[in-house]
């Protein structure tokens, strides 16, 4: 008897191995890794551009570049790629991979939407890179008018730049909706908002900022496209437009975007510090709420980027709100130091990168307060001091935390450990190279060296040479990391479920987790940071099967009396 075989889902072979990362997938773990790998590729591209910038600046005269336009392209694309195609999507990748696991769920609230958000990213990257085919953007990552207008940027690359950012903005809005719904609606039984890992809190705060601010970027880019393509006059004063309109809307998005780039990094830090110091997070609620406070304040400080162009009455309010941000940030710093205090610190690569964040972010934060002060800012505006400041925040902050996060969660994502020796070499080279590159820039800025120039006064040469040496060290630092990842993927030590003896739910399943994450619904620990407590020890001993209620009074996390043993597992 002839039988017709109906094609069923099982009959279509699922792509295996690397193949599943190359196709449309609605599995949040696949999507998370897709985000991480794509954005790491753009880290290498942006890094290459940075090295070219530093090589050009090795000598005061023009050496590598034929003209200033080529140099303008370098720093424009470096900044744009690093921010929009590396840091933002990299952290979204961590969020995608970790949030459902940390909440003990099978997936995000809207898996299909999640895939859609990711698949906007590669086209956005290609559109951005395609700029090189038609004359790339040269107006800086801030794209101020009239530099980005038809007069000074006649090339289509500037248009492609705006289209690419539009796609990335849409992608991050969809992602943010997905994260908030997942976090609010899909926590497991036994996990209140105050029992979520702080990384989840940070993604929650970040997503709120994205919903408030990113639509402004989308609107501003739309007006830019209208001006460039449809001959409208939003930004050109000659026809009654206002160049400050762009600056206002751009910074209304891009200042909060700084927190989009650093809050999840701070979330990574809270988790890594607590796990590797074997101490409960100090001031859990303060860390969680300070993220929301930073998010709120971050939306009302955009004018501090425009002290030199803003109406004078608006300067003082923006200065004060900006300085206020130091308060919740200081609360976080204090809490992290409190977390480390008296802990049984394991100097793993993840921990070293996190300590690197702590030390460097303090410097970046303090120079931020300098720049918030109007008289100082007017003096230092558009000098290398500003470049030093934001690289201490973004590289010394976000990037070091991202590497810390990779060393911490790589075992979960791949089932294999990274080599600690190579990790420490990676850390040492990155840390030293970073400091050598960016610390001299403070002095260059104070001495008045303007940014975004490719030739400079010979009196700045010595510090620029130091800076370029540092940049080359950072480039070398990537090599041990890439070798480490490549070797570990094939021959790394098997990780087991929970190599760091951590308490949060992502560790309560196999590494890498099965397709639906958990074989049976997991039971969250009553305190995700209860290291050194009897409940935490019992939870770990049972492999995540027994969660005792915390012995303290109800839901006190972090503000509990410190009678619990401060050290030990």
């Amino acid at each position: 008897m002839a039988t017709t075989v109906k094609p069923t889902a099982a009959a279509v072979p699922k792509p295996r191995g690397i193949g599943k990362y190359l196709v449309w997938s609605i599995d949040h773990k696949v999507i998370g890794i897709q985000y991480i790998v794509v954005s790491f590729f753009f880290f290498l591209v942006g890094g290459l551009l940075a090295e070219l910038i530093r090589i050009e600046l090795l000598t005061p005269a023009a050496s590598l570049m034929v003209d200033g336009g080529a140099y303008n392209t370098l720093f424009t694309m470096h900044g744009t790629i690093m921010i929009f195609l590396f840091v933002v999507p990299m952290l979204a990748g961590f969020g995608n991979y970790l949030v459902p696991l940390m909440l003990g769920q099978k997936d995000m609230a809207f898996p299909w939407l999640n895939a859609l958000a990711f698949w906007m990213l590669p086209p956005a990257g290609l559109v951005m890179l395609a700029g090189w085919l038609v004359g790339p953007a040269q107006a800086g990552w801030t794209s101020y008018f009239p530099l980005s207008g038809p007069q000074f940027s006649p090339f289509d690359g500037q248009t492609l730049w705006a289209i690419s950012l539009h796609l990335i903005g849409a992608s991050s809005i969809l992602g943010a909706v997905n994260f908030i719904v997942t976090i609010l609606n899909m926590r497991p039984a036994g996990m209140s908002m105050w029992q979520m890992p702080l990384f989840v809190w940070s993604i929650f705060a970040t997503s709120i900022i994205i919903l408030v601010a990113t639509p402004f970027l989308a609107g501003g880019l739309t007006l830019m496209l209208f001006d460039r393509l449809a001959g409208t006059s939003f930004f050109s004063p000659a026809t009654g437009g206002d160049p400050l309109l762009w600056q206002n809307v751009f910074w209304f998005y891009s200042h909060p975007a700084v927190y989009i780039m650093v809050l999840p990094a701070m979330g990574i830090l809270s988790d890594v510090l607590s796990v590797h110091a074997r101490k409960p997070v100090f001031g859990y609620r303060f860390i969680a709420l300070s993220s929301l406070a930073i998010g709120f304040l971050g939306c009302i400080v955009w004018g501090h980027h425009m002290f030199t162009s803003l109406a004078s009455w608006a300067r003082i309010p923006f200065m004060l709100t900006t300085m206020l941000i130091a308060v919740p940030t200081g609360v976080k710093m204090f809490s992290w130091i409190g977390t480390l205090w008296g802990g049984k610190i394991r100097f793993t690569s993840a921990m070293l990168f996190s300590l690197g964040f702590l030390s460097m972010f303090v410097l970046g934060g303090i120079t931020g307060v300098f720049l918030a002060s109007i008289p100082v800012d007017i003096h230092l505006h558009d000098t290398y001091f500003v470049v030093a400041h934001f690289h201490f925040v973004l590289f010394g902050g976000s990037v070091l935390a991202i590497f810390g996060g990779i060393y911490h969660w790589f075992p979960k994502m791949t089932g294999r450990m990274l080599n600690e020796g190579l990790g420490k070499i990676h850390f040492a080279l990155t840390y030293v190279g970073f400091f050598l590159t960016f610390f001299p820039m403070h002095f260059l800025g104070l001495e008045g060296m303007p940014r975004r120039i490719y030739t400079y006064d010979p009196k700045y040469e010595a510090l620029n040479v130091l800076s370029t040496i540092g940049a080359l060290i950072m480039a070398v630092a990537v090599v041990p990391f890439l070798v480490n990842v490549a070797v570990s993927l094939v021959a790394g030590k098997p990780a087991g479920n929970n190599p760091w003896r951590a308490l949060s739910l992502e560790w309560m399943t196999s590494s890498p987790p099965p397709e639906l994450n958990f074989d049976e619904p997991p039971i969250p620990a009553s305190d995700p940071y209860g290291y050194g407590t009897p409940e935490g020890a019992a939870y770990l001993a049972s492999g995540g099967k027994v969660a005792l209620p915390t012995s303290g009074h109800g839901h006190g996390h972090g503000d509990q009396p410190i009678e619990r043993p401060a050290t030990g597992d």
């Binding site: 909706v177 908030i180 719904v181 609107g219 409208t232």
Partner: protein, 197 residues
Amino acid sequence: MTANFAKMQTAFDHDQFQQAQALKNARLGLLLWRFANGMAFVFFVFANLLMRNVQPSWPPPGVERLEVTLPILITIVILLSGFTASRTLKAVRASQLSATLRFGLATLALGVVFFVGLLAASAQVPPSGAYSSIVLAMNTFHGLHVVVAALILGVVLLRVRRGHYSAEKHWGVEAAVVFWHFVDAMWLFFFAFIYVL
């Protein structure tokens, strides 16, 4: 057999739970989407206000204030469509599928009238640099939202005709109507800043 039944019951409860969870997620998701989308409308008003700020008067000197008759008429039309949209949702909740379809089509028709009116009102705007730029940009932005809302409602109405929805299960209708109301409200917001203030 009892055990089997219990198993079936659990599976059924699980299914119910999944559906309830999915609905809860979808509602919150749409709420957040409206918030973000609303921020984009706020952006255009913000841009409008900043552009006034650099002019000695608004409209700028030498530019005529816009004719307001047609805009008022289409505003009445879109308010009516909001009313029919509410009735569409009410009808599906009462299982009156033919009424759902009727009110839905009326909403769609009013939406088309509004859109045509918006095009006509935009055609009346003489080119005048900053003033016409922001007015036309706001009209375009809102018009695109009307098109999207109408497409969503159109697809949902096709599904109503095929009997996809019931009093218990009608998320599609609810979403289309909720988004329609959002687009209505955003027009009132824009109307105030284009024509009144």
